[in-house]
Point group: C2
Amino acid sequence: MAQNIYDDPTFFEGYSQFRRSREGLDGAPEWPTLRSMLPPIQRLRVLDLGCGFGAFGRWAREAGAASVLGIDLSEKMLEEAQARTQDTGITYRRANIEELALPDGSFDLVYSALALHYLEDLAVVFLTIHKLLAPGGHLVFSVEHPLFTAPSHPQWRTEADGSKIWPLDSYLLEGKRITDWITPGVIKYHRTLSRYVNALLTHGYRITHMEEWGPSEQQVAESPELADERHRPTFLLMSAQKPPDSNDASE
Amino acid sequence: MAQNIYDDPTFFEGYSQFRRSREGLDGAPEWPTLRSMLPPIQRLRVLDLGCGFGAFGRWAREAGAASVLGIDLSEKMLEEAQARTQDTGITYRRANIEELALPDGSFDLVYSALALHYLEDLAVVFLTIHKLLAPGGHLVFSVEHPLFTAPSHPQWRTEADGSKIWPLDSYLLEGKRITDWITPGVIKYHRTLSRYVNALLTHGYRITHMEEWGPSEQQVAESPELADERHRPTFLLMSAQKPPDSNDASE
C-alpha cells in the first residue's frame, strides 16, 4: 500500500499551489506529449489511476469518453475532484490500485499520471491493469523518470564553467527512495527503465511508444526555469496495448 | 558511413589487448545476459553486424546455427576473424551496414554487439535489418548505454565521502560524441533509450526484452574494477522480433 502523503495538510497545501494543480492539464508541460500517445478516446471506458483533482477525467469526457472512473488514495483530492464536476459520467472511488475490485475487461483505456512511482510492486499493478483492460485496450502512463528517482542527491550542480550536471548514482540499485519534496519523508520507488519495459512485456502487453520527456525549446523560451530539464528527462511516458487476441494466457 | 577507427594501428593494438579481444565471448561480462536473450540458435541463418574478431559467429556455429555471415568495416579485424576459423559455414564480408546488398528475408537472426552506436542513422539500420530478416526473425543487439554516451565528461567522480557519481548532462541532446578511448577522436553517436525503442517500433518490430547491463555481485567480487558500474549501466541490450505475420507494411 502506498504512502498517502497527499492527505498530509502541509503537503496538500503545497501541492495545491503547483501550476499543474491550479491550471490542470494545461499546467503540466508534458501533457501535450502524453495526449499524443492516447488512442482516439471517443466512446472509451476510462480508468484514471491516481486521478488527483480529476483534470484528465473531465478532459476525457469532453473529448467523448463513454465514462471515467477516477481512483485515488487521497480523500482530500477526491473531494476536490468531485467538487469540480457535475458530470454523472464521471465517478470517483477511494482505493489502492492494487486492491481494485472491478470486473475483468471492463475498461478500454487505463491512464495514470505521475502515480505509479509511489507503488512498490509494479508487477502486481501491471497484472491488475491487464485484467481490467478489454482485449485491444490501452495503458498510457507517466512516472518520474528513473534518472530523476535514482540519485542519492537528486539536485542539479553548477560546474566551475557555469554548466550543470546531474549527479547520477545508484541507477541500478532499485527500491525505496525517501525524499524531501514539499514535505520531508516522501516515499517513492526507483526502478530502472528496463524494469518498466520488461514488466509490461512479461504481463502480456505490447509496447507501442516511449517518451523520455524534456521541455521543447519553445517551452524553455516561455518558462526559462525548465532549461536544466533539457539535460536530464523529467518524466517517462509510456503507452502499451493488451493485444486484441489476448486470452490472458499470461495470468 | 561510420568512422573506421578499428583499422587505426594504435587503436587496433590497444583494442586487441582488451580482455574481450583476447578471451572472446567469455571476456565480455555482459555476454551471459546477451546470450540469454537469443532465440534457440539451431538451424538459424545468422548475420553478425560488426563481427570484429568473429567470436560470436564461431560460438553460433558450434551451437548449431546453419550459417553465419560476419560483416565489419575493419579489414584488420576481418583478417584476424578469418584466421581464427576454418569453418566453411562462416563467411566474412567487408561492408557498411547501411549498404548491405543481400536478399530480403535471408536471415533468421541478426546480431550486433557494440557496433550500432558508431552509426549515425539508426532508422536506416533498423529498416535495412528488417528487410533482411525473415518473418518471425530476431534482432538482438548491444550498444553502449545512453547514460554512458551522453555526458560531456564521461568519467566517474569521487565525492568527499568517497562515493562516486556519474556527472550526467546532455542526455536529451542526441548526436555526435567525440571521445578519447584508446586513441583521441573516436566518433560515436549518442541516442536516448527511447530513440532505440521507438525506432524499433516505427520499423515494425516487436520489442521482446531490454536489459540495462551492470555487473552482478559475483562479477564485482571476481573483478573489483567493475564495482562502479553497479551505479550506472554500461551497456544497453535489446531483443526484438519481426512479427511472423509481417508483410513489411512499414516499408
